[in-house]
């Protein structure tokens, strides 16, 4: 029962704050709404009993990316600045396409009956996840892990190079 309450609460929060994120006229406020969305998502993960994921969600997303975004907002625009909204025609057309897409997807989802696994609740802990992450056995994820590391490294270097000032580039 509590479970359901929690789910609906988080679900409602996700939808509402998502909407606010994309419609808010103040950019900083939109970023905060985004933060709420991400936190609510973490809540959903908790509800699913995936604590590690929820933690990652909170630290990386809510803690890292949103902060990054807020920084950049502060760098590029004034706090009180109100965002320019798309013209009505564009909004309507986008809404039309979006609603159509959503309807289509939802119809598809609802027509399909998912049969949940009857297996017992998992009882693995973070250790298992950590082991799998660096394991190079059959069920190991060492390779994706390494790839992602390289990607992050590349992104880091790339971001620095791109964001660097012209002056520095010339040297």
């Amino acid at each position: 029962m509590l479970n359901q309450v929690m789910f609906f609460l988080f679900g409602a929060m996700i939808v509402i704050f998502s909407l606010l994120t994309v419609t808010s006229r103040k950019i900083l406020r939109a970023a905060v709404f985004l933060l709420f969305v991400l936190i609510s998502t973490a809540g959903l993960y908790f509800a699913l009993n995936y604590n590690f994921l929820a933690a990652v969600q909170l630290t990386v997303y809510a803690g890292g990316i949103v902060v990054l975004i807020i920084f950049s907002i502060l760098l590029t625009s004034h706090v009180s600045e109100r965002a320019v909204m798309a013209p009505l025609k564009q909004s309507l057309l986008s809404a039309l396409a979006t609603v159509a897409g959503a309807t289509l997807t939802l119809m598809t989802i609802l027509r399909f009956t998912f049969v949940p696994s009857s297996a017992a609740d998992p009882h693995f802990n973070i250790t298992d996840v950590g082991n799998a992450l660096v394991s190079y056995n059959r069920d190991g994820y060492a390779l994706p892990f390494e790839v992602v590391s390289v990607l992050l490294l590349a992104a880091m270097i790339g971001a620095i190079v791109v964001a660097k000032k012209e002056k520095m580039l010339k040297k």
Binding site: A86, Q90, L93, S94, A97, T98, A100, G101, L104, T108
Partner: protein, 638 residues
């Protein structure tokens, strides 16, 4: 059988002269080039006379028919299994007769031209063209097959074109030469179609095979019928169209009067004596086929000839340019010859018309060349073509006067001049065949006498005209040809043509039918008398008559507006309503379509380019929309 291979030289010598003069003439002295050309023709004439004498008399066994001999033949172009174009020399009565006519007149014209063209900057060019013409004409008459004839037919046309346009700086001459070539070319298309049809149906070009009365051509006279006449008849009519074009028969006659823009000796040679009778020669050449296999085609020939003769005679009465009068007279006389062929039958007495036609061709060549050369002498003296600029010239040009008078009497059919005999035979032939045509010919005889004497009086008698400088008689080099031709005009009538040139090569007895001859002479005399009254001295009668029959006079004077009709057809219809629209169509519709395709490509490129707007959200929108639509299609609509 006698060997006639040497006759090959008769056309080849002028060809050689043409090349010699054409390539090196500009380096020669004018007189030298003239003499070279003349000497070439002289040799040709001697060979032609020798051939004629051998063929008709010394080499001929009395009492046998005149055979047609292929003196020389090479295969030139192999077309199909059956059809091969040969080039060769065919010797038979009419070709030998034509050899004599052509070489004689051509030689006279060459000699005459040395005087007439003196001082002209294009002297050598003139003589090389004359040689080219002589070559072509000789090749035409000696042709062994119809295709060879067509080849030379075209060459003759081109030399005529070159000679009419000899004064190429004169726009009227250029126009006339173009007209002559194109009109005859149009007729030649008919000739070509005729040849194609004929050869398709008979499988041969060869004259001997074609005209053999028992040969395959005449035997296969049936063939598929088209519009009530056999294909053979149609092909012969088409061939006659070609002949009508060259011979200036109605309605292809319009080029002939304009062709008088050429130098007068050219008019004498080409447009009076030789080339214009090529049509007659063509019909005569194929005569057995016409007579035996396609009498309908022969009727067409007769009626076209008859109509042309009276049509031209009426016009000739009103013309004021002396060369044009002669041109229409030529057309009228050729109409006579055509008619005569048209009313003729084949073989023996039946073939009287055939004989008469060739006889008249022969005599006509003499007296018409004489008339033209005489007119040339007159023009040479007064530097004008118009009758109104002449008058009373008999004192200044005595030799020209006498020879011209002889020619006029000859053409009027007064005995004992040669015209009387040949014309009489034609009248007899017409009388036995078709009374209407016969009546027409009587009228034409009268008209001929009238307009010729109108011309004669207009030039040599009539009003006292004042000349800026006194006209003087032409030099001997011009008058001698006149005298020789006058001699021919007087005595050619006594040649026994009925023994020599007949439809089947066998001679027959012919005598003058006085019941027909006397009225015809009378009519001629009446014509002369009227002309004498009206034109001998200045008189108001002609103007009065012209005023009385104003419309008729105007119509005749304007040549029954045939030129205008043609102009209308060419300028208006062909150029304005066919060529111009086609050119427009090509530039705008066909090319427009092509350009349109190109334009559409460019337009489409621009349109597609517009999609690439750089607007990120537009791309995203298209992406999303596209995905949605694809999902819709693949998940729900299939």
């Amino acid at each position: 059988m006698a060997d006639y291979t040497y006759t090959l030289l008769i056309p080849l010598i002028p060809l050689f002269m043409f090349l010699l003069l054409g390539l090196t003439g500009h380096k020669m002295k004018p007189v030298v080039s003239g003499l070279i050309g003349t000497s070439g023709l002289g040799i040709g004439a001697i060979l032609a006379y020798a051939t004629a004498i051998r063929y008709f008399w010394t080499g001929h066994v009395a009492g046998t028919s005149y055979a047609s001999i292929k003196a020389f033949e090479v295969s030139w172009l192999h077309l199909t299994e059956k059809l091969t174009i040969h080039l060769g020399v065919l010797i038979d009565p009419i070709s030998v007769m034509m050899l004599v006519v052509i070489t004689t007149v051509s030689l006279m014209v060459h000699i005459y031209s040395i005087g007439y063209m003196k001082g002209d900057p294009g002297f050598y060019r003139f003589f090389s063209f004359l040689s080219l013409f002589s070559f072509s004409m000789l090749g035409l008459v000696l042709a062994t097959n119809i295709f060879q004839m067509y080849i030379f037919w075209e060459l003759v046309g081109v030399s005529s074109f070159l000679l009419i346009g000899y004064y190429y700086e004169k726009p009227s001459a250029v126009a006339a030469s173009k007209k002559a070539f194109i009109v005859t070319r149009f007729a030649d298309l008919g000739f070509l179609i005729g040849i194609l049809m004929l050869s398709f149906n008979t499988g041969t070009y060869d004259f001997q095979t074609l005209t053999d009365p028992h040969g395959p051509a005449i035997a296969s006279l049936g063939g598929a019928a088209f519009m009530g006449m056999s294909v053979l008849t149609w092909s012969l009519i088409f061939i006659f169209v070609g002949g009508a074009g060259k011979s200036a028969m109605f309605p292809f006659h319009i080029w002939l009067p304009d062709a008088m823009e050429g130098p007068t000796p050219v008019s004498a040679l080409i447009h009076a004596a030789t080339m214009v009778v090529a049509g007659v020669y063509l019909v005569a050449r194929l005569f057995p086929v016409y007579a035996l296999a396609a009498p309908d085609a022969l009727h067409v020939v007769a009626w076209i000839g008859g109509f042309s003769s009276i049509f031209a005679a009426v016009i000739a009465c009103t013309q004021t340019d002396i060369k044009r009068v002669l041109a229409f007279s030529t057309m009228s006389q050729i109409g006579y010859m055509m008619l005569s062929l048209g009313v003729s039958g084949f073989g023996g007495e039946e073939g009287l018309g055939f004989m008469a036609s060739n006889f008249h061709l022969f005599t006509h060549a003499m007296f018409k060349a004489l008339l033209f050369l005489g007119a040339g002498a007159v023009i040479h003296a007064v530097h004008s073509n118009e009758i109104k600029d002449m008058g009373n010239l008999r004192k200044y040009l005595p030799i020209t006067h006498i020879t011209f008078l002889i020619a006029c009497l000859t053409i009027a059919g007064i005995p004992p001049f040669s015209g009387f005999f040949s014309k009489d035979e034609i009248l007899v032939a017409a009388f036995h065949s078709n009374k209407i045509l016969f009546a027409i010919e009587y009228i034409v005889a009268g008209l001929t006498a009238f307009y010729m004497f109108r011309l004669y009086y207009g030039i040599f008698w009539g009003k006292k005209t004042h000349y800026h400088h006194t006209p003087h008689e032409s030099p001997l080099v011009m008058t001698i040809p006149l005298m020789i031709l006058a001699f021919g005009s007087v005595f050619a009538g006594f040649l026994p043509f009925h023994n020599l040139v007949t439809s089947d090569g066998i001679g027959f007895e012919s005598h003058i039918d006085w019941m027909i001859a006397i009225p015809s002479v009378l009519i001629g005399v009446i014509g002369i008398a009227i002309a004498t009254v009206m034109y001998k001295n200045e008189s108001a009668i002609p103007d009065k008559i012209a005023a009385t029959f104003k419309h008729l006079y105007n119509w005749a004077h304007r040549k029954f507006y045939m030129d205008e009709v043609y102009l209308f057809v060419t300028r208006k219809i062909i150029f304005r309503y066919i060529s111009d629209p086609i050119a427009w169509f090509d530039r705008h519709i066909v090319d427009g379509t092509m350009n349109g395709i190109a334009g559409m490509t460019v337009y489409a490129a621009y349109a597609i380019k517009g999609l690439q707007s750089g607007k990120l959200q537009q791309y995203a929108y298209v992406f999303v929309g596209g995905t949605v639509i694809l999902v819709l299609i693949f998940v729900y609509l299939t």
